[in-house]
């Protein structure tokens, strides 16, 4: 029903808004697949998935990825890409860890450092991509290499942070009312989320509002949809692109700190492959690499779908490292083919 409605809206009543109806259509597909998968897991795999805490654990583990993917979606909506976010996360973790443990830093100084890395990255990458007009892939590839090398220059070995105030913050749990469960001993265990989840949810809501109703958000879509016509409409294309990449890098540094808060250690191998996970989540969430199509809510559910499928695979008792990669790849493949077939058929009509 909902699907046919959106098609009708997009094509017959408001044909000039096809780009937006693509967004809605892909979002609905994502939502449906996520719900079907989760319900199937609850029905067929039972035990673990019935507890609300399983869902909240998925949030706890993926708060950083949600934030990174949001930044990635914005860049992808403007038609760019940023593959430096994964290693940037590792760099932020390592810098904060060194600051807290070896330089007697405080949490405020660590957050300041993280944001500083994000702002510097955003300024440099954004300027080179938007104003010097160099392909974003190459610039952020260099950014990825740079962060990778810098992480080991800052500190080459993995270590756990011992700072007390940080440990207190790391272990802070926020109880979710009414979602607890009774454990085997008969005690009531409340469901909880970590601080990172609150940050992630706030960011998702803020960005949703930004993309939906603000002028800047609409500019992102316009530039991604068609750069030349956006230019003719009087949109400052270069500044819009710059802001998209700037926002992505700053979000990556916030995501990096949230990741740091979750794992509580610094290591050069942290968050490896996160850039591809972020891209995959955005794609599953209905964002297209060609630009102009995408939705932050979809990205959120993209991350959750990825996490759900990993959980399902591991609870089926299959060898994790091996099968989860293959199933995730199969899932991306499935989504891409669905998207492509749906969009191709729609365009033909």
């Amino acid at each position: 029903m909902a699907r046919s409605n959106s098609t009708v809206k997009g094509e017959r009543l408001k044909p000039q808004r096809t780009g937006l109806s693509d967004t809605n259509l892909l979002l609905i597909i994502t939502l449906a697949v996520f719900l079907v998968m989760y319900v199937a897991a609850v029905v067929f795999l039972g035990s673990g998935f019935r507890k609300p805490q399983t869902f909240f654990n998925m949030l706890n583990e993926n708060a950083a990825l949600i934030i990174l993917s949001c930044g990635m979606s914005i860049v992808m909506i403007t038609g760019g890409i940023d593959i430096s976010v994964g290693t940037m996360t590792a760099l932020v973790c390592m810098t904060c860890a060194v600051n807290l443990d070896y330089q007697s830093g405080t949490i405020a100084s660590a957050i300041g450092l993280a944001l500083m890395i994000g702002v510097l990255y955003g300024l440099v990458q954004g300027y080179i991509i938007a104003y010097l007009e160099i392909q974003p892939f190459i610039v952020t590839l260099a950014g990825m290499f740079f962060a990778k090398g810098m992480t080991t220059i800052v500190n080459a070995d993995q270590f756990n942070v011992a700072n007390e105030s940080f440990q207190a913050l790391k272990l802070t749990r926020i109880n979710v009312p009414g979602m607890g469960s009774v454990n085997k001993l008969g005690n009531y265990v409340p469901a909880y989320v970590e601080i990172g989840v609150i940050v992630a949810v706030v960011i998702v809501v803020l960005l949703f509002v930004l993309l939906r109703w603000s002028k800047l958000g609409r500019n992102f879509y316009a530039v991604g949809g068609n750069q030349q016509s956006a230019n003719m409409l009087g949109i400052n294309v270069k500044r819009t692109k710059f802001l998209a990449h700037f926002l992505c890098s700053v979000l990556a540094s916030i995501g990096g700190f949230v990741y740091f808060l979750h794992v509580g250690s610094g290591s050069p191998s942290h968050a490896s492959g996160y850039e591809m996970n972020a891209i995959a989540s955005s794609i599953i969430g209905g964002t297209m690499l060609t630009g102009g199509v995408g939705n932050i809510l979809g990205t959120f559910f993209g991350v959750m779908s990825l996490s759900t499928i990993k959980n399902i695979v591991s609870s089926l008792g299959l060898d994790e490292a091996w099968w989860s990669n293959i199933t995730v790849a199969a899932m991306i493949c499935l989504f891409l083919v669905i998207q492509s077939v749906v969009l191709l058929r729609k365009n033909k009509k």
Binding site: L132, F145, G149, V328, A329, I332, S340
Partner: protein
């Protein structure tokens, strides 16, 4: 007087046209590296004739190491250039695909036994099977890109995610080891020939692709499809098929590179083999001055770009840079090279140069 004035201007325009040539960027980068190395260490390029442990004469030295290690990258750059030109996107799965190619080769040679006494199949059969498997995976990527019209980076993300797991699965997660010395010929030395075999294989690949580009319409069609798929379709080219075929060719390049990789060590480590080589291959294409958005390409510039990357790596190693810190230095060099060669940056530079000249001319006029 007039003639005298014209001459430097002509020279300048010749110089400028040389500067604008696409192949100028990798050559200039290579020259800078060569001069830099010669200044810091005059014996950097010395090539010596030594005898290896098997008693065969072999060439050793930094130059041979660079050419040897860059072979896989140069071979991949060939396929990546075609893919980039035709589809306007890059294949990020080549590293994972190399793991699969190597795994297939070992599986055919070893059979079920991880440490066989004798090879279970002739090496040439293993190589052919590896080629077919890699081309099938290339065809998979090509189908997604050409017929389902999925952006190349996204389509190849599938194999990028799954590739190394598939490679491990092919050999039941064991690490086969081959003790047969003749298997190592492709990755090391053939007895009696002092030049490392990967260099010879890379040269053979370059000759083949040069002949293909010269005597077939592949190059022309690829560029036409990359510049405008619709108008090339109206001219009777099948753009989807051309895109598809470039991915299959990249698959073949991956097979050759993967075969060299396993031959070097006679074994394979699924999670480490050819790690991040896809990024280097794309970098080689970009350093060659090719537009990553597709269209015209210069094959020689791409291949040179691959050697520049390896040269840079070896130079940094010669300065005792830690291998894990290497990417940071690489990134700085890449950014400088790319910014310097950007058209927008060059325009800004010429504008800056012109300003004082115009001011001077205005003063003279007064």
């Amino acid at each position: 007087m007039k003639a005298g004035r014209l001459e430097p201007r002509e020279k300048q325009s010749k110089l400028r046209s040389l500067f604008r040539r696409q192949i100028f960027i990798p050559i200039a980068a290579l020259l800078v590296l060569v001069i830099f190395n010669l200044i810091t260490n005059p014996s950097f390029f010395a090539v010596k004739l030594d005898y290896n442990s098997a008693g065969n004469p072999v060439f050793t030295g930094n130059l041979v190491t660079i050419l040897d290690n860059a072979s896989e990258l140069a071979i991949l750059a060939i396929g990546m250039t075609l893919v980039t030109a035709a589809s306007g996107g890059q294949d990020i799965s080549v590293g994972a695909a190399i793991a699969i190619a190597g795994s297939v080769t070992l599986r055919v040679l070893c059979g079920d036994n991880a440490r066989p006494e004798t090879l279970q199949a002739p090496i040439i059969v293993a190589f052919l099977v590896c080629c077919v498997a890699s081309m099938l995976f290339g065809a998979f990527n090509g189908t997604l890109v050409a017929y389902f019209k999925i952006q190349p980076m996204v389509a190849t993300l599938i194999l990028y995610t799954a590739g190394r797991s598939i490679a491990a699965w092919i050999n039941n997660n064991t690490l086969p080891n081959i003790s047969e010395p003749s298997f190592g010929y492709a990755g090391n030395f053939i007895p009696g020939i002092p030049v490392p075999t990967p260099i010879l294989i890379a040269i053979a690949c370059m000759i083949v692709i040069a002949l293909v580009l010269k005597f077939t319409t592949l190059g022309l069609y690829t560029q036409a499809v990359g510049i405008n798929p619709n108008s090339s379709r109206l001219n009777g080219i099948n753009p989807a098929f051309i895109k598809f075929i470039t991915y299959v060719i990249l698959g073949l390049c991956v097979a050759v590179a993967g075969f060299i990789k396993v031959s070097r060590f006679s074994t394979i480590n699924y999670s480490v083999v050819a790690k991040d080589i896809e990024m280097d291959a794309i970098l080689a294409v970009a350093l060659g001055g090719n537009a990553l958005s597709g269209g015209k390409f210069n094959m020689a510039a791409s291949i040179l770009g691959a050697y520049v990357i390896q040269f840079l790596t070896t130079t940094l190693y010669a300065f005792n840079v830690d291998s894990s810190a290497l990417p940071a230095y690489k990134a700085v060099v890449v950014i400088i090279l790319v910014v310097l060669s950007a058209p927008t940056f060059q325009q800004k530079l010429t504008r800056l140069k012109k300003k004082p000249k115009m001011a001077a001319a205005a003063k003279e006029g007064n």
